[in-house]
């Protein structure tokens, strides 16, 4: 499987692909010692700045560094244009879907998505039913996980519509690359990412409630220093110029949210919350939550504060709902999805379940509400016992699982102990949606499975990250005419 994977630099063992020419020469001509030295410098840099993440259930290494790979992952501007169009379309559909699900439910009435999949979904929030959000935006910040299998095929692996993380690594990785390899960077025309925070702030402010002051106050709500993504929360608050608030810093009086400051109470209009639905308000959800703000939901429903993302968006990024995304996109936009889904077996359907049980050793099985690479079976890598465990789980609760073919994720040259070698990668671009439109910073977070042959890129499972470059290349004549044809032809029915 590894041998047949598409390599982002060399394709299927062929010549250097467009965009990678300079990097290929650079990798060939730079002594390994120098690369090793640079990698060491990068690590020192990250450690000193304190870019760490916490791993749950790991008392020993309370804070760890996400390994950073110094070889950039390159996507040409031509490839990116198509990706960006697909992302825009997908996130627009996600927002329309959520609006519909929490109001008339037309997609259910039309028989496109089964009713129980939505209204019995643990992430469905009845509290949100019938609520109109300002500007109808539910998902302001989305992280869409994308994998590539050949020169032309990108699949969406997963939508993250709750509190997607990792964007700080996208920004810091670029900073580190610019510091360590200024010449290499200068020889490419790399689309900048540093405006992400400005875009995010503009997006958040655009969604302020009508009752807010002309210059709305934005706060970033964090679960606190013990959270695995705390570094990112403080990093983003800093870049946004927003207060980094914990639940105890906020209180609600007469349905208005205030923060406690040294000058007394100050009203908060928009909350970029990095806290799950369950925890945001002990009066509305988990009563044992000490991380949330009592009364926040009441203020939210009264329209006095905007939460980004909205409450209840989890119903849209569930892996079972994911399998309906092509239909969902067609239903709301009237067009075919630009970005395909990985062909997915819904184990809730008897035919699919039978197929999955018969082919477990070759499939990837995922829990519909799992994340972070936990609770997942990678058939080709699993031993008999693990496969049997999953077989039992599947038979007991088929509706809790989906299965997908094991994809030959593309590889990218990566500097590992034995030198430069191909390792599997994915890509998470971030899509911002505000009252004033969709913003996508060109690039995203490339995650890389550092172990040879491994397909699991999650940082909690030993994955690393790379800087992602969207590099300007000239259009060849063939590409130009192909693009013109695409623009002229009508969308397929």
């Amino acid at each position: 499987m590894t041998t047949t994977a598409f390599d982002e630099m060399t394709g299927f063992g062929g010549e250097c692909r467009q965009g990678y020419e300079i990097v290929e020469t650079w990798l060939r001509d730079t002594p390994v010692e120098l690369l090793r030295q640079r990698r060491h410098e990068a690590e020192l840099l990250f450690r000193r700045i304190g870019i760490t993440f916490a791993v749950y259930g790991d008392a020993e290494g309370e804070e760890r560094l996400i390994p950073f790979d110094i070889v950039p992952r390159i996507i040409t501007n031509l490839e990116w244009e198509r990706l960006a169009a697909g992302l825009r379309q997908r996130v627009t559909a996600l927002n329309m879907f959520l609006k519909d699900v929490y109001s008339k439910g037309e997609i259910v009435k039309a028989g496109i998505v089964p009713e129980d999949l939505i209204y019995r979904n643990p992430c469905y929030r009845p509290e949100m039913q019938g609520i109109t959000l300002p500007h109808d935006i539910w998902v302001s910040i989305a992280g869409i996980d994308i994998v590539r299998v050949d020169a032309d095929t990108f699949y969406v692996l997963e939508d993250n519509a709750r509190t997607p993380s990792g964007v700080s690594y996208m920004l810091e990785n670029r900073e580190v690359m610019l510091r360590l390899f200024p010449e290499l960077c200068a020889r490419h025309r790399i689309a900048p990412v540093e405006n992400y925070a400005d875009d995010l702030l503009a997006t958040l402010k655009s969604m302020a409630p009508r009752t807010a002051a002309a210059d709305p106050t934005v706060g970033l709500l964090t679960p606190g220093p013990f959270n695995s993504a705390y570094y990112e929360h403080s990093f983003l608050a800093d870049k946004l110029g927003a207060e980094l608030v914990e639940g105890s810093d906020l209180y609600v009086r007469e349905n208005i949210v205030y923060m406690r400051t040294t000058e007394g109470p100050k009203r908060v209009d928009v909350i970029y919350r990095r806290l799950d639905d369950d925890f945001i308000d002990p009066l509305a959800f988990r009563p044992d939550s000490v991380l949330g703000v009592p009364g926040l939901m009441a203020a939210y429903r009264a329209g006095n504060v905007t939460l980004a993302n909205a409450v209840g968006t989890g119903v849209a990024d569930d892996k079972a709902v994911y399998s309906y995304m092509p239909e969902i996109i067609r239903f709301y936009t009237g067009k075919d999805a630009i970005l395909s889904n990985v062909p997915t077996h819904r184990c809730r359907e008897p035919d699919a379940l039978k197929y999955v049980l018969d082919h477990l050793p070759e499939l990837v099985v995922k829990e519909v509400d799992g994340s972070g690479g936990y609770g997942m079976l990678v058939g080709p890598k699993a031993d008999k016992a693990k496969i049997e465990t999953f077989r039992a789980k599947l038979k007991a609760h088929p509706e809790k699982f989906i299965a997908q073919p094991t994809l030959a994720l593309s590889t990218c040259p990566t500097f590992v102990d034995e030198g430069v070698a191909p390792r599997h990668v994915d890509l998470r671009p971030y899509v911002l949606t505000g009252a004033d439109g969709v913003r996508i910073v060109p690039g995203g977070l490339t995650r890389v499975a550092l172990e040879s042959g491994s397909l699991v890129v999650n940082s909690s499972q030993g994955g690393g990250t790379k800087d992602t470059w969207i590099v300007d290349v000239a259009r060849t004549f063939a590409q130009q005419s192909q693009q013109q044809q695409q623009q002229q032809s009508a969308p397929r029915a």
Partner: protein, 314 residues
């Protein structure tokens, strides 16, 4: 700014300051303990070092025996059982720094984070004097770098002022306690029993606050205990004197009051204390009882902390 942020900034700088003070006291005690007893080494220097950092009681509770160089250094520098051990101070400082990273400049964060990483290299084990003095130098260097980066890089707004309040509250407390432990050697000539034998005690106090040279510049004479007391309590030119700490506390509290447009109990208490220090002299202080003066001061300083807390940090 958020009250929690102000609170963390206040305690962040307090703990960095405390780590440095403790390092200085260990340093001074070490020199004294190394003297032959005929040079004025009075009983157990390590006990008084523990007393000067306010943790003698806890030490006795934990160890149940008289302090030795090993046990005292371990307790003051590394012990997790001592909430004010240098190691704990730096860990708490780093925890607070992490909680308010957005309010710190990159230089401040890097200083504290680097120190925290380096801290792991030092630890228990045999008391190796070379390693110990490396460690103490590292602690002082951290505090100086932290203070310096705050001074050179922070915006002069409430974030800066609250962190300065932490420094001066802690420093005033440390100086007062240090003097109180040694008050019996700071008495005027007619009361002194030990005579010149106390010379090294006085010089140790000055060393603990880095003030030997300053003493000579200010008084231009050999060490006199009451002048040491004068320098450390009343001389506003001396950065670790009580007068200087309160001059700063008054100034920073006033700046906060000015931008917030409101004076409060904390401002009034600090100003009263500073005026009292300004309007007295060392003879009056000693006549009224040095020990009484210092213990009242420590209590008032604690009261100011709770006034600041009530007014801003909750």
């Amino acid at each position: 700014m958020l009250s929690r942020t102000a609170d963390s900034l206040f305690w962040l700088s307090r703990y960095v300051e405390r780590a440095e003070n403790t390092a200085r006291i260990i340093d001074a005690a070490h020199r004294l303990a190394a003297l032959p007893s005929s040079y004025g080494a009075t009983g157990n220097e390590w006990e008084s070092a523990l007393a000067a950092t306010g943790c003698l009681e806890l030490f006795t509770e934990v160890y149940g025996e008289e302090a030795t160089a090993e046990s005292a250094v371990d307790f003051l520098a590394f012990s997790p059982a001592n909430p004010s051990s240098i190691k704990n101070c730096l860990e708490i400082a780093r925890f607070n720094a992490r909680a308010v990273r957005t309010a710190l400049t990159a230089e401040m964060w890097e200083t504290i984070n680097t120190a925290w990483l380096e801290l792991k290299g030092y630890g228990l084990g045999e008391l190796d004097l070379g390693r110990l003095s490396d460690f103490l130098r590292f602690v002082k260097r951290t505090s100086l770098a932290f203070d310096g980066s705050a001074y050179r890089t922070m915006l002069r707004n409430d974030a800066y002022w609250f962190s300065r309040l932490g420094v001066y509250i802690e420093r005033a407390d440390a100086t007062a306690r240090l003097l109180d432990v040694k008050y019996h050697v700071l008495l005027p000539p007619e009361a002194a029993v030990g005579g010149s034998l106390d010379y090294f005690q006085w010089s140790a106090i000055l060393r603990a606050v880095s003030a030997q040279t300053s003493y000579h510049w200010v008084y231009r004479q050999s060490l006199k205990p009451w002048l040491v007391a004068d320098l450390m309590i009343l001389n506003p030119q001396m950065p670790r004197s009580l007068a200087s700490c309160y001059e700063n506390l008054t100034r920073y509290l006033d700046q906060i009051a000015q931008i917030y447009g409101r004076q409060g109990a904390a401002q009034r208490a600090a100003r009263t204390a500073f005026t009292n220090l300004e309007s007295t002299d060392i003879d009056t202080v000693i006549a009224g009882g040095l020990h009484e003066f210092l213990s009242t001061f420590v209590e008032e300083n604690i009261r100011l902390t709770s006034l600041i807390t009530d007014q801003y940090l909750l």
